[in-house]
Symmetry: C2
Subunit: 342 residues, 2 copies
DNA sequence: ACATTTTACGCAAACGTTTTCGTTAATAAA
DNA sequence: TTTATTAACGAAAACGTTTGCGTAAAATGT
């Protein structure tokens, strides 16, 4: 039951050698004789020495770890991105440290601060909702000034020339809506986020574009900006209430789509005869509902991989930091039961 | 566009004062005159100095951050636990660093190593599947030897006397099964994990206990250990195939439960007349399916809070480390449509 | 007037490593 | 035998902080 921390200094003292000898022996340096190496190795194994990572990183000025900041973890999509990032990173010998901002500006700032001042070599972030609301990205712009390797994914800060990998949300929204139109829908509603969330706003743009292109009229009664602080289900119910002739819904995420489906069942609406539904994000939920949900697949895993690829490139070749890279991961439509018509 | 790192040393040089003066000024020490303080503060704000956390932590021998290792992030339950932990921690002034083991032993070992050697003051972990398979928990026992503050949640290592907060899985399994029995089910199947996963095994115990208590016979055809490396849906389909008289299913997680529901719909089985289903974990999925899922609520948020409470107690009062604490978070049955009978 | 206290700062050790550069002793080359 | 080389190790600076202690000058007390 050893309790005191065991350091190079203590090992050195115990074996009557210098600190540098121990350090070199542990890295199998040719400067140390095989005999001493063995003596040191044996002792080290016995006491179970582990180097202090803080000291190592401080000295090396490198940590081989990457920080990730996401708004929240519950989203399947973010989890997928992280998995993709982790996958790429671990093959390159990097580890991942994940934190969450809870969609709060202050926490995002705090985590950026914590991670970028020593803990990690680079940062991957998806911006918090509150940062959009406040339109405050100064914690990121100081990072850019410092030329700290930084890549954004999915939710990217407005007005900053940064590395980012996103999906084409406008196109995604367009595809989803177009699909409903092609299936013969006449009155198509959209359940989206408040306008300051770029991904929601962009999907809404795509929605409008598809409608206009097909000669439909835009109807503000059909455009619902969900306020997540209130009951989502009640807001969707209100949509149905307001629009008796509604025959299709485009929901900008899985959650809204699943709830729409549920409400439809409660109102005895037949999918797809009375109502078609299409979502966004191809997660477990979309596959497991009855009927299963048509959706726009975002390929989060690939997004994470790509983001990490760019980040590591920026880390290893600092000169590349001068030319921000922007990559768009293609989306594709996954047709399932909620829009499948004979 | 400043690029060189700015440190106390550089500030001191620029202002012709000593490093300690700068350091003390930044902490508003009474040892420094108001004039010098202002001079330093102004300069520091201008250049945007941020202390190096590695150096600070190394010196302070304290980081005010807590590490979390989870098998994976996609699980709603884990996300909830993390949120609870984060909530408690942030109120106590601690930050969270999250990593995932991918259910792999080696990665779990690596992350434990990374975090516990400098990066964090304490560790919260839910054990990887592979560690159970290998029955290898040495990376944790060395932590115990070092008296490193450590609390397990949900999936706890076998044979180690450790701090842990779990739910009573046996009781949960019992409650779920009993509920089905009370509702009149005759042939009740269980969809569970391979036996080495303790939570699955325990829920299965509760299932058996409830059956025996009610005078039912155990039927191995009704006990399915799902192998996640193969198609889950096909395995569930096989269950239905094998048991035409099946009238209730207890699934040990949301995923299996949702898939069961989906399959039932495809087989045109009426819920609840032909089949009742009950799950485990009260996440978004259970609420959003049609019919909605009855389930055993695990209260992940509370679990996270409690785990963090214990951990912080161990950190602040090292003497408490001698007496491992074990807390059980109560579960409760949430009845929804999938078992609701008139 | 001198002694004492206070103010305002600097020095240097410490946290635990890595690594460059000496230095000594043994070995090889002349 | 003398000189050059190599092998094996140690001293010390450096990474960027914090903090106890020392000290000169200024302020206060007698």
């Amino acid at each position: 039951m050893r309790v005191e921390k065991i350091t190079l200094k203590k090992i050195a003292a115990s074996l009557n050698v210098s600190i540098s000898t121990v350090s070199k022996a542990l890295k199998d340096s040719h400067e140390i004789s095989d005999l001493t190496k063995k003596r040191i190795l044996d002792y080290v194994n016995e006491v179970g020495y582990r180097p202090n990572n803080l000291a190592v990183s401080l000295q090396r000025q490198r940590t081989m770890t990457i920080g990730v900041i996401v708004p929240e973890l519950v989203h399947h999509f973010f989890s997928r991105v992280i998995s993709g990032a982790e996958n790429y990173a671990s093959h390159a010998g990097y580890k991942l440290l994940i934190t969450m901002s809870n969609d709060e500006w202050e926490k995002e700032r705090q985590m950026t601060d914590l991670l970028t001042n020593g803990y990690v070599d680079g940062l991957l972030v998806s911006v918090a909702k509150q940062s959009f609301e406040k339109n405050n990205f100064m914690h990121f712009s100081t990072l850019l000034d410092r030329r700290f390797p930084l890549v954004f994914f999915d939710r990217t800060p407005s007005g900053l020339n940064v590395n980012k990998v996103t999906i084409n949300d406008v196109e995604g929204g367009y595809k989803a809506t177009k699909h409903l139109i092609d299936k013969g829908a006449q009155r198509i509603a959209i359940l989206t986020t408040p306008p300051h969330i770029s991904v929601g706003a962009d999907r809404e743009k795509g929605y409008k574009k598809a409608l206009l292109e097909a000669g439909y009229e835009l109807d503000s009664n059909l455009i619902f900006h969900i306020d997540e602080r209130a009951s989502i289900k009640e807001q969707i119910a209100k949509l149905f209430d307001l629009n008796p002739m509604l025959d299709a819904v485009f929901a900008v995420n899985e959650k809204y789509a699943a709830l729409t489906l549920k409400l439809a069942a409660q109102l005895n609406l037949k999918i797809t005869d009375d109502l078609m539904v299409i979502g966004f994000t191809d997660g477990f939920i979309s596959k497991s509902t009855t009927p299963s949900l048509s959706t726009i697949a975002q390929h989060g895993f690939e997004m994470g991989e790509k983001a990490m690829e760019i980040l590591l490139e920026k880390i290893e070749d600092k000169s590349s930091l001068n030319t921000p890279k922007s990559v768009i991961i293609p989306t594709n439509l996954v047709e399932r039961e909620s829009t499948r018509k004979p």
